[in-house]
């Protein structure tokens, strides 16, 4: 969106116990909280389709009832379950089959494919819907890739706490065939496809991998969150398990821009958020990656950090946030930006707090509290 938005804004919050929606006018001073939506369901991602601004998809898991996707065509007023939720192909007799534990990530498809959505699951699966999320099919090029079993971990016990995940499904706005994904487990990394998912190759050069003898393997990294700039699609950023990175295509090597963060804060975290118009401006929410990795705000003093020069320098933004004894954790999907000028920023914590800034991080205020553990926060324009 090259021109700043000035209409109403929605903030879509998915939590461990259901989903909520906050709405505000363009001023973004007062917020109306509505919900819960599907109270008690484990909601991982609630995403508004930017192509129609009406359709919502919710990635959910109901206790022990397994994974599913719910759909709304009226901004959340009513819902229907997908007729065929994401599910792996049935295994041949005698072979172990994979079972989707939960749908983790939802990405609207390319602007030229208005009913297409992608979903990433745990364990790592890539799914595609061509009917606005009603029926889902596995993307066979990833599922049957001869290296998939190496890229995606086999033993979930060796993986991330809630299971290995496929996330950060990212589509080049210039080309619907050009896809990126992130895989987090004990193996994983960033992977790229130039043919709509038929073939894949690792894209991890220059990026450190945790817990392996060779710190720079071809794959085995743990990207926490990958973002591509919509107006400069050759610019990629990732918040990785091992730092903050940037890549400028056509180069295929990551540069660790987190080295320029204050050493006492470090460059470990989960989300990374891009300015909707300026590809040099990026926000992160650092968390403590020292000792046994508490993954809380360093020293109990939460702050967002922003760079406005593509990672050469970083500035602390903590006005309005608690000054001390605040041990916040923000998950990889739980930080987002709107498209206004100045840009609005939003992040949700695992302790159920939702924080917002309507001036690009200069001042923060809490706009919701006492929610369940927040998995994801997505800001979106509700009107033009």
């Amino acid at each position: 969106m090259a021109t700043p938005a000035n209409g109403s804004v929605g903030v879509f919050v998915a939590t461990r116990k259901g989903a909520w929606i906050l709405r505000s006018d363009g001023a973004r001073r007062r917020w109306d909280l509505t919900g819960p939506i599907f109270l008690g369901h484990v909601a991982h991602h609630l995403v508004l389709d930017p192509r129609d601004r009406r359709s919502l998809l919710l990635a959910a898991r109901t206790g022990h009832l397994g994974p599913t996707v719910f759909r709304s065509t009226d901004q959340g007023a009513s819902w229907k379950e997908a007729s065929r939720p994401p599910a792996f192909p049935k295994a041949r007799a005698g072979e172990p089959g994979r079972v989707v534990d939960h749908v983790f990530w939802l990405s609207p498809g390319h602007a030229s494919e208005p009913n297409v959505w992608y979903a990433g699951t745990s364990p790592e699966g890539l799914f595609r819907s061509e009917d606005a999320g009603d029926h889902w099919d596995v993307v066979p090029g990833f599922e049957q890739h001869p290296m998939r079993i190496d890229w995606a971990i086999v033993d979930p016990k060796q993986s991330t706490p809630d299971g290995p995940i496929l996330h950060s499904i990212t589509i080049d706005p210039r080309d619907a065939r050009h896809l990126y994904i992130g895989i987090s487990g004990n193996d994983g990394g960033v992977f790229e496809s130039l043919d709509k998912g038929l073939n894949w190759k690792p894209l991890n050069a220059g990026c450190m991998a945790p817990a392996v003898p060779d710190p720079y393997p071809e794959y085995g990294q743990d990207p926490h969150c990958l973002r591509l700039h919509p107006l400069a699609p050759d610019v990629l950023y990732q918040q990785n398990h091992c730092g903050i990175y940037r890549m400028q295509r056509p180069a295929s090597r990551w540069e660790r821009i987190g080295e320029n963060m204050p050493k006492a804060v470090g460059d470990i975290g989960f989300p990374i958020v891009l300015h909707p118009r300026d590809p040099r401006t990026v926000w992160v929410f650092p968390m403590d990656g020292t000792d046994v990795w508490p993954r809380t705000s360093p020293d109990g003093k939460p702050a967002v950090y922003v760079t406005r020069d593509a990672g050469q320098s970083w500035q602390r933004q903590d006005r309005g946030l608690p000054a001390s004894q605040a041990w916040l954790t923000v998950r990889r999907q739980a930080m987002s930006a709107d498209a206004h000028d100045p840009v609005g920023l939003y992040f949700g914590t695992t302790s159920g707090e939702l924080w917002a800034s309507s001036d690009e991080g200069a001042q923060w205020s809490e706009i919701a509290r006492h929610l369940p553990l927040i998995h994801s926060v997505e800001a979106a324009e509700l009107s033009s």
Binding site: T62, G63, H64, L65, G66, T68, E81, S83, P85, A87, F88, P89, K90, A91, G97, R98, V99, V100
Partner: protein, 86 residues
């Protein structure tokens, strides 16, 4: 035959706790149940044909783990789901 539906699945049966479905085996009955109440089977049986964790199926008073168990027209099927977690 009669099929008793647990609370967590009532959204699939218009809140009816007791519904009808038919089949010569439990597998066939669940297929028929899904035809009448779309989506309900996948909440109990995963894509590899396995019973989801904490789902229990009873034919009359017998806890059944295999879906190929034969059924008689007079049998009643009870579906239970033991939800847990804080």
């Amino acid at each position: 035959m009669k099929v008793w539906i647990p609370q967590a699945l009532l959204s699939y049966t218009d809140q009816r706790k007791l519904v009808e479905a038919h089949g010569a085996t439990l597998a066939e009955l669940l297929t028929d149940l899904d035809r009448r109440h779309p989506g309900i089977r996948f909440r109990m049986i995963d894509e590899q044909g396995g019973l989801r964790p904490h789902v229990r199926l009873f034919v009359n008073h017998d806890d059944v783990r295999q879906l190929d168990v034969p059924l008689r027209a007079t049998d009643e099927v009870h579906i239970f789901q033991a939800l847990s977690g804080g």
